[in-house]
Amino acid sequence: MTEAGKPPPSRCEISLARPHSGAPQWMLPLDLDALTGCLASSACLVTQTTSGLIIGMLLFLVAVGLTLIFGVLKVVNFSHGAFYMFGAYFAMTAYQISGSFALAMLCGAAGTAVLGLIFERVFMSRVYGADVLMQLLVCYAFVLIFDDVVRMVWGPEFKSMGMPAAFQVAPLFIAGGVVPPYYLLLIGVALAAAVVLGLGLARTRIGKVIRAAAHNPGMVSALGINTGLIYGGVFALGGMLAGLAGALAAPVRSLTPGMGFSVLIESFIVTVIGGMGSILGALIGALLIGLIRSFGSLGFPLFTEGLMYLFMVIVLVSRPTGLFGKEVA
């Protein structure tokens, strides 16, 4: 499960290889030399920050859907990672058939949107009245089912989409750090999604209706608006964003059934840190987790994940509703 979030190998790790230190036998692995060494070199700093940013941006796309679904439907979509996975697989298949990168992205996003809509209308809508456990259980069932469906259709082995030819160009050097151009595209697309989503919710009529439905669904439906449609739409939107994240990740990550899982857990951490239901919180939380991952992997190579959980515990203990969460979500 460490696979998905691992930053790509950076050059400074090699250059900073240090002699074996005689740490006591039962100590937790800790490599502060590498961390401080990196913080001192601008090249390493840029490389690690970029890799932190792309981890963060991918997480943001997944987490924002999660937080949106929770905010409007009050459902914790435990199967959200599966949409990320399907997005990646759809994109890979579309790319292999058509050879067009844009079409691959489109397929990844649109395919998961349809999937989200069906999933919500056929299954999730049946358990809205039931308690949280039932909802979690339905999602848990789909985590298992979706993973096996992917295994059936695409096979259990690791797959790779490969970098599209348009991005197979020399990397950029910024302050001595290596930045592949694809990373810039990825960050740009995610940022654009954040802005469109934020403005759309704040300014448009549909955004207003969605916010109203989150606040008081009974009143919204009394005003003659089909709340079922809104719920389905929000779920589709959330699924689409996760699918887009999966599609964007497909060229730089290897694809495997179950790849959605680590992303899911991490985006939960992101939403919980940022505050359930808050889009800004999801963005800040995702960036923090991304940076913790990329720099933590230098200082605490084996305990990177532990570091994230530790951070989450600290945030929740000091602010139980997350950084940007409201008291009544």
């Binding site: 039962w26 532990g306 530790l310």
Partner: protein
């Protein structure tokens, strides 16, 4: 702390039930009878597979029933209960491998460690509201899991505790013998279930139900909600840890999967499968899940697909656990029989 809490609960309710003592005597008899039947099972069926199955049921049953004390009785949806299962398995395994103390000492020491850890984690978690409680417990679970993975020199990392756990005989009991291990597991299971049932039926148990139904009202009549929740959190952790110890004894090792979040997920699933409104629901659920797991893995590679469909059937089709269903059906039948008679 428990007695104190129980007294408070007793004051809050009508005082202890007058027939409580005779009921307890009856329960002791039932527990003894169940234990005798289980212990005599190997004399009738000599199948080793069956004994293994019952041992695994004991480990999972204790774990799931203790989770039900939190989920069903107190309304605390813990998504990290599996950490105590893992803690029990690793604590016991490490104790036996590194120090070589006798088994009962290691058992007591593991429970003590679990007690301390659960007290610290519980003190942080139980004041949080439901969904946040679920996630913070999950975070602690993963924290323990990543500690196990990364502390390779102590825990063996992702390989787990290998090389077997030494199981020296004590008081004439040799746990490396399958039959002895079987009887010991049954004894632990029966004692554990009996104790948990006592907790659930005690005034303290009714305090917990009240907190589940209306925590604000409970605190208005003078119940320290935080303290009651913490008490049950720690108690449940001890039973989960016992389940982990049985598992460690059974596989003669401990693996990171024991502390992974899926164990907690399975625990919740077991609870739903069996039903959370009856005491024995989770035990029934544990047996069902193990049977399901064993048959499905034998029949198909797509084990998750089948399991998922079964879960969907329970969650969307029945909307309740098996025992809930049986209890309701039984009550309905009795009612209609009463009307006719």
């Amino acid at each position: 702390m428990t007695e104190l809490q129980a007294e408070q609960g007793a004051q809050a309710l009508d005082g202890p039930h007058p027939q409580a003592k005779t009921r307890r005597n009856r329960e002791v008899l039932i527990a003894l009878a169940v234990f005798v039947v289980l212990a005599l099972l190997p004399a009738v069926f000599s199948s080793k597979l069956l004994l293994d199955f019952v041992i695994r049921c004991a480990a999972y049953g204790l774990f799931a029933t203790s989770l039900n004390l939190l989920v069903g009785y107190t309304g605390l949806i813990s998504f990290g209960h599996g950490m105590f299962f893992g803690l029990g398995a690793y604590g016991f395994g490490l104790m036996m491998q590194k120090t070589g103390v006798p088994i009962p000492v290691a058992f007591a020491a593991t429970l003590t460690i679990t007690f301390v850890v659960a007290l610290i984690i519980g003190a942080i978690c139980v004041r949080l509201k439901e969904i946040y409680f679920a996630f913070v417990t999950l975070a602690f679970q993963m924290l323990i899991h990543s500690t196990i993975l990364s502390w390779v020199s102590l825990t063996g990392g992702d390989q787990g505790l290998r090389g077997g756990i030494p199981r020296p005989p004590f008081f004439g009991i040799d746990l490396s013998n399958q039959l002895h291990l079987y009887v010991a597991s049954c004894a632990l299971l029966v004692i554990g279930l009996f104790l948990m049932h006592q907790i659930a039926q005690s005034p303290f148990g009714y305090t917990l139900r009240m907190i589940r139904d209306n925590a604000i009202r409970a605190s208005f009549i003078g119940i320290d909600v935080w303290r009651a929740k913490l008490t049950i959190f720690v108690l449940a952790a001890l039973f989960a840890s016992t389940g982990g110890i049985i598992m460690a004894l059974f596989v003669s090792g401990a693996y990171p999967e024991f502390a992974y979040w899926t164990i907690s997920g399975e625990g919740i699933f077991i609870n739903m499968l069996g039903g959370v409104t009856t005491f024995l629901g989770p035990m029934v659920g544990a047996v069902l899940l193990l049977i399901l797991n064993d048959t499905v893995t034998r029949l198909t590679d797509y084990h998750g697909l089948v399991l998922g469909i079964v879960i969907l059937f329970f969650a969307i089709g029945l909307r309740k656990g098996l025992m809930d269903f049986v209890v309701e059906w039984y009550a309905q039948r009795r009612n209609s029989a009463g009307e006719r008679g």
